[in-house]
Amino acid sequence: MEIKKGLYYTEENEWVRVEGNKAYIGITDYAQDALGDIVYIELPDVGDTLKAGDAFSVVESVKAASDVFLPVSGTVIEINEELEDSPELINEDPYGSWIIAVDLLDVTELDELMDAEAYEEFSSQEN
């Protein structure tokens, strides 16, 4: 299972890639593999302001529909519309297929998240 260096991770298997004050968010390789073939994704609206821990998207596979939780508070500034027509991109390239980008409200929230190493250890125990 691939875990990419330089990203932040959550226990719910989301990743965060930070560029300045902008954070891209997606689901990890483990998450896409556990879900199986993804067939549908529900995206939030640009402009939505959400708290860390809020469910911002629903990813549906042939097995289950799962909420995706926002790792850090922020305002949605971009959504990856390509996923609406091709949700399978998440299966093919989970770290390349960001779901949304947010404008961070509180960068200190990133300190609460795991780095690649910590996530790897978490995965080996939990998953």
Partner: protein, 483 residues
């Protein structure tokens, strides 16, 4: 005709018909003189044209492909697909039940009202609740009704705008969060601990004066009886919340314990699960709601009451949440459930649960070792496997598909979400040891096949007219119309 798999459109031949009408004996007019042009469709209707024998064979062959509890073992976890005794159908077809009208005067349907009244009482006795409404159409409707009662309770106390959250454990029955959301509640999920129980410490942390209540399924979807249920009820009550009992798994506790005694304030039952009424194929279901004495005034109207020897429908309950269903709920289903309760009796119902639990544990012990058992402890009416121990790339989906070849309805798969490769098995009480042993043999054989001939499983089912369905393409590019 075992492999018959045609659509009725495919056997259609132009001009063929299954009727013979007499010549029209009134004047006819062209349709465009009768209906304005803008309402006329020019698209051909494409209706199938078949002869009588074609249509009879078509539907008879399709009907023979049905699989139900009357055909074979149906261990669909979480759903309690128990056998429905035929006496239920005999009783429900009595003239006085079948040929009455919901608008008949009460004095002409006293027998029907008596059945409803006695069923309300029996369900109240079984669950330890003060009063019961038979109106909700099925389980999720019962949840909605129960939560409306919860909201009405908080509203009366002036707290409904403050109490905006409902606690739901992650091992809850799947509809709970949906029902809470429909009523505008925010769902707070509580993780299970390593044993699959509600994490009491996390529950304490989540409590506050913004909590309206908690929905709990006990035994849980993992088939486990919640050992801390009394403490959980105390914690929620102390914070001013109410406890809601989802009766999805009530088949495990009949005559043994009661939600009312555990501390619950509101419950629903699924007559189509626990009380042997038709399930699946549209049922219809029935999800009676029971409440504590304090909440009885909020129940939907009408309730059936008994005054002396006379049964009446009471519509005048000022605090009632109102009507939740046309007329009185699914009356015919209620008759079947009442017939079941009477034919079982108190001792019989206790045996139902005892046998449901014994059957589940028997299967669990026989499959453990060959199959992963993520939570290994005494189960109630169902248990959850996590795939084959030496899986060799074989997933739970492959196992489920292969079970079809062996003539079984596959168990629930990939639910609950808390277990990887979940397969939830619920045999119910009505299955004999021979049936259980045959199912065990099939499951063990499948595990052997996973080792020796995995491709056999990957390509299963083999013995069905339609083979493995491409679920991914079907979901991504659905074709929902025959052209």
């Amino acid at each position: 005709m075992r492999d018959y798999n045609k659509l009725i459109f495919e056997i259609s031949r132009e001009g063929r018909k299954a009727y013979s009408l007499p010549k029209c004996d009134v004047d006819t007019l062209p349709v465009d003189e009768l209906i304005p042009e803008k309402y006329l469709s020019s698209t051909p209707t494409n209706m199938p044209e078949v002869s009588e024998v074609d249509i009879v064979r078509h539907y008879t062959n399709l009907s023979s492909k049905n699989y139900g509890v009357d055909t074979g073992f149906y261990p669909l976890g979480s759903c309690t697909m128990k056998y429905n005794p035929k006496i239920n159908e005999v009783v429900a077809s009595y003239d006085g039940f079948r040929n009455i009208h919901p608008l008949q005067p009460e004095e002409t349907v006293q027998g029907a009202l008596e059945v409803m009244y006695e069923l309300q009482k029996a369900l109240g006795e079984i669950t330890g609740m003060s009063e019961v409404s038979l109106q909700p159409a099925a389980g999720a409707h019962g949840e909605l009704t129960g939560l409306m009662i919860m909201k009405a309770y908080h509203r009366e106390r002036g707290e409904d705008t403050k109490r905006t959250k409902i606690i739901v454990p992650d091992s809850a029955h799947g509809t709970n969060p949906a029902s809470a959301s429909v009523l505008g509640y925010e769902v707070v999920e509580i993780e299970s601990d390593k044993n699959g129980d509600v994490n009491v410490e996390k529950l304490k942390e989540a409590m506050g004066d913004d909590i309206a209540g908690m929905m709990l399924t006990n035994p849980s979807t993992l088939g486990l009886f919640e050992p801390n249920v009394n403490e959980i009820c105390d914690i929620v009550h102390a914070a001013g919340g109410l406890m809601y009992y989802d009766g999805a798994n009530a088949n495990a506790i009949l005559g043994v314990t009661r939600p009312g005694d555990m501390g619950f304030d509101i419950i629903h039952l699924n007559l189509h699960k626990t009380f042997s009424t038709p399930h699946g194929g549209g049922g219809p279901g029935s999800g009676p709601v029971g409440v504590s004495e304090e909440l009885a005034k909020f129940l939907p109207t009408p309730t059936v009451e008994k005054h002396g020897d006379v049964y009446t429908l009471n519509y005048s309950k000022p605090s009632s949440i109102g009507k939740v269903k046309g007329f009185y709920g699914h009356f015919g289903v209620c008759v079947r459930a009442y017939a079941y309760i009477l034919s079982m009796g108190a001792e019989g119902l206790e045996n139902v649960s005892a046998n449901a639990v014994i059957n589940a544990n028997y299967l669990m012990q026989a499959l453990k070792g060959t199959y992963k058992l993520p939570i290994d402890r005494l189960c109630k009416h169902e248990f959850v496997l996590g795939g084959i121990e030496n899986d060799n790339g074989i997933t739970t989906l492959d196992i489920a598909k292969r079970l079809i070849d062996y003539g079984y309805y596959p168990p629930t798969v990939y639910f609950p979400l808390t277990i990887h490769e979940a397969m939830m098995i619920e045999p119910t009480e009505t299955e004999s040891v021979e049936t259980l042993d045959a199912f065990i043999s099939a499951m063990l054989k499948i595990a052997e096949e996973a080792e020796s001939t995995p491709e056999l499983l990957k390509e299963a089912p083999h013995n069905t007219p339609v083979r493995r369905v491409d679920e991914v393409s079907a979901a991504r590019n659905p074709i929902i119309k025959y052209t």
